[in-house]
């Protein structure tokens, strides 16, 4: 029954490389592939935030405090009363409740604000360096309101802020994991390779860090950051704090794979071929664990994103004017604010989607990482 362990088609040819086999396995994991596509879109929108976000995320307008989301109507009636394709949103009419003296927004069916794709906008720099003056969606008159996901307490566009927050939140996860990976590779690799006392100490340190509750530790470290640092410094400091504790899992994976591979017959065979230590590691061991490390790293990203979001939400992580999902959710801390403007919770949905898809993707990658397993 050996033929049943591997794909029949592959046995027939047998010339597929490791990565082709991994891809073949991964592709069968529908949910992981779908999640991968969603994530690519998320990262693309993070990269192209200035282009996709309809408004400047910092632009405020007191007239539209807590304005509810507008819905896009694709069809409109032309002068003869026939339905034509003309995407537009409706403007707002403000009603004042005479008793509570509170303003409520209602849609004004008379005021139609046509939308344009790739319309002209104020000049800006895409990703900070490409000069552009077109955006994905624009309104003809920049003074008319466009709040597809509503507005916040200062009348800022939630959608635009969400898109800009994606850039920070996703990159914190990525950079944090890359830093953790560097620490994990060095420490785990050395630990697995040299063993002995060094390994013993590293093992104890990892065990120590893993036995502590991370949130209070993160909170303590983040709270100790000087208040007068600028946004960028805080951003990097928070990322470093996250990876200071997050590296342990990756080091554990690296060390575990290293130890397992060291005793593999084919590594022994390479030794008996007369290969040098460096060649054994680079030629025979590294290719075998690259895929595992990538999978483990991708599974560590959501943890980083959740941690950043939680810290920023508590006011200990990133601070305004930086926009991250956690910072945005700070606006939703007050239950009355949420009750008035539930759309303030949209960044939470973004967190869930990102973490969910990353977990699916990571699971798919982990399952595909060893295409030779029985």
């Amino acid at each position: 029954m050996t033929a049943t362990t591997v794909d029949d088609r592959i046995v027939a040819a047998g010339t597929e490389t490791q990565w082709q086999l991994i891809w073949g396995r991964f592709r069968r994991h529908r949910l992981a592939v779908f999640s991968g596509i969603v994530l690519i879109l998320l990262y693309l929108s993070a990269a192209l935030a200035e282009f996709i976000a309809p408004q400047d995320p910092h632009a405020f307008n007191a007239r539209f405090t807590f304005a509810p989301p507008q819905s896009i109507n694709l069809l409109d009636r032309n002068d003869e009363g026939r339905l034509i394709f003309r995407p537009h949103v409706n403007g707002y009419a403000v009603e004042v409740d005479p008793v509570a003296l509170r303003r409520t927004f209602v849609t004004d069916p008379e005021e139609k604000i046509p939308l344009r794709l790739f319309g002209k906008s104020e000049p800006y720099r895409l990703m900070g360096f490409i000069p552009m003056q077109h955006k994905l969606i624009t309104v003809e008159d920049s003074r008319t309101p466009l709040f597809l996901l509503g507005a916040d307490r200062l009348g800022r566009d939630v959608l635009s802020r969400l898109i800009h927050g994606t850039r920070i939140s996703l990159s914190v996860g990525l950079i944090g994991v890359i830093m953790s990976l560097v620490i994990g590779l060095v420490v785990g690799g050395l630990s697995g390779y040299y063993g002995g006392l060094f390994d013993l100490i590293v093992q104890r340190v990892i065990e120590f860090l893993r036995s502590l509750p991370t949130i209070p530790l993160w909170m303590g470290l983040a709270a100790a950051l000087p208040r007068d640092w600028d946004a960028l410094a805080i951003y990097f400091a928070v990322t470093i704090i996250l990876s200071l504790i997050g590296w342990t899992e990756l080091a554990r994976v690296v060390r575990g794979r290293f130890l397992a591979l060291k005793t593999e017959d084919y590594v022994t065979a390479a030794r008996i071929d007369g290969a040098s230590d460096l060649r054994i590691v680079m030629r025979h061991m590294v290719p075998a664990f690259t895929s595992h490390i990538i999978a483990a790293a991708s599974l560590a990203v959501p943890g980083m994103i959740l941690a950043e979001t939680a810290l920023s939400f508590l006011g200990l992580g990133l601070q305004a004017p930086i926009i991250s999902w956690g910072v945005l959710l700070q606006e939703a801390q007050n239950i009355r604010a949420v009750a008035t403007a539930p759309w303030l919770l949209w960044p939470g949905a973004a967190v869930i989607v990102a973490v969910l898809t990353m977990n699916f993707l990571g699971d798919g990658m982990r399952d595909a990482a060893d295409p030779y397993a029985q």
Partner: protein
């Protein structure tokens, strides 16, 4: 005998870990530039209050703030050992006073969360593995993934929002106003339980999502082991043999997961406690950190760490007790 040796070894390791933790906590206390008194003096000067230099200097000497790190650490840690966690400069109370009965309430909430967590996770995990790919399993898996993806604070916010919109009730705190500062009584207990479900639910969700995933994976491994077929070949009824053999064996690694589950639970109870404004340690931890009242913060972090480690020790001993392979080795 072997069990005793094992227990002693774990205990020694825990003591070493607590020592390391205390150094980390003291490091956190020391991290902000300048000491608290300097900040306080600057603040007093700014607001025009008279600065009592003598009093400040006396405090500084008392806490050894002018001495080297190691001496300061020694002063601090030797106080901690006898229960003197230091002084909250912000609240001008001793840390012990600040903590008061919040510690007990924290523990109660966390304990209840663990009970609920297992009450959810065990049956769901077992069902999920035994009926792999059934509708129930798929539902449990989806719940598991979503439970892992929702940050605790968001879940707490959503719960607050839903109950506010649906019932017009705010579910913050653990006591109604009339019982807030009352002594413990039956009425207060009932009041406590009528509030505590919300934080317990939030804390238990994330944890049970993880436990379900682990239990399911472990149990799927165990279900395909030959000893299960041995039990079948004996003529045992299916559910009975599943409970007696694979579930029993799968419990061992699960008990050892308590070790890392506790840090998660404490972490999420902190966030939940802050969002729902519970009378637990969590809100004062946040407040002390935001105001850089580091003695209080350091003591709280140390306390939470030690509690976690104690729980881990208990789970290690429990594991040794139920697993003959460890007990007899």
């Amino acid at each position: 005998m072997a069990l005793l040796r094992y227990a002693v070894r774990r205990l020694l390791f825990m003591i070493a870990t607590i020592l390391a933790l205390s150094i980390v906590c003291f490091g956190i206390i020391q991290l902000p530039p300048g000491d608290f008194l300097t900040a306080k003096m600057a603040e007093m000067a700014a607001t025009g209050d008279a600065v009592n230099v003598d009093a400040v200097e006396r405090l500084r000497a008392q806490y050894g703030l002018d001495r080297p790190f190691i001496v300061q650490y020694w002063l601090w840690v030797s106080g901690v050992v006898v229960g003197d966690f230091g002084f909250s400069f912000e609240l001008t109370k001793t840390v012990r006073e600040v903590i008061g009965d919040r510690l007990g309430i924290s523990l109660a909430v966390e304990f209840l969360a663990i009970v609920v967590l297992w009450a959810i996770a065990l049956p769901v995990g077992i069902y999920s593995a035994v009926r792999q790919y059934s509708i129930g399993d798929v539902a449990a898996t989806i719940f598991g993934f979503i439970g892992l993806a929702i940050p605790n604070f968001l879940l707490a916010l959503l719960l607050m929002y839903i109950s506010f919109v649906a019932f017009g009730a705010t579910i913050t705190g653990l006591f109604s106003d009339e019982y807030m500062n009352a002594r413990w009584s039956f009425g207060r207990l009932v009041d406590f339980f009528s509030h505590v479900w919300a934080p317990v639910l939030v804390i238990a969700t994330a944890g049970s999502a993880q436990v379900i995933r682990i239990l399911r994976a472990n149990l799927l491994d165990e279900l395909s082991r030959p000893y299960v077929d041995t039990a079948r070949a004996k003529g045992m009824a299916e559910w009975r043999l599943i409970m007696r053999y694979p579930v029993r064996v799968a419990m061992n690694p699960l008990v050892s997961t308590i070790g890392w589950l506790l840090p998660t639970i404490i972490s999420s109870s902190i966030v939940t406690g802050i969002v729902l404004n519970l009378p637990t340690l969590s809100p004062i931890l946040l407040r002390s950190l935001l105001s850089q009242d580091m003695h209080l913060a350091g003591a709280l972090i140390l306390l939470m760490g030690v509690l976690t480690l104690l729980g881990t020790l208990l789970s290690d001993l429990l594991l040794a007790w139920i697993d003959p392979r460890i007990r007899m080795a």
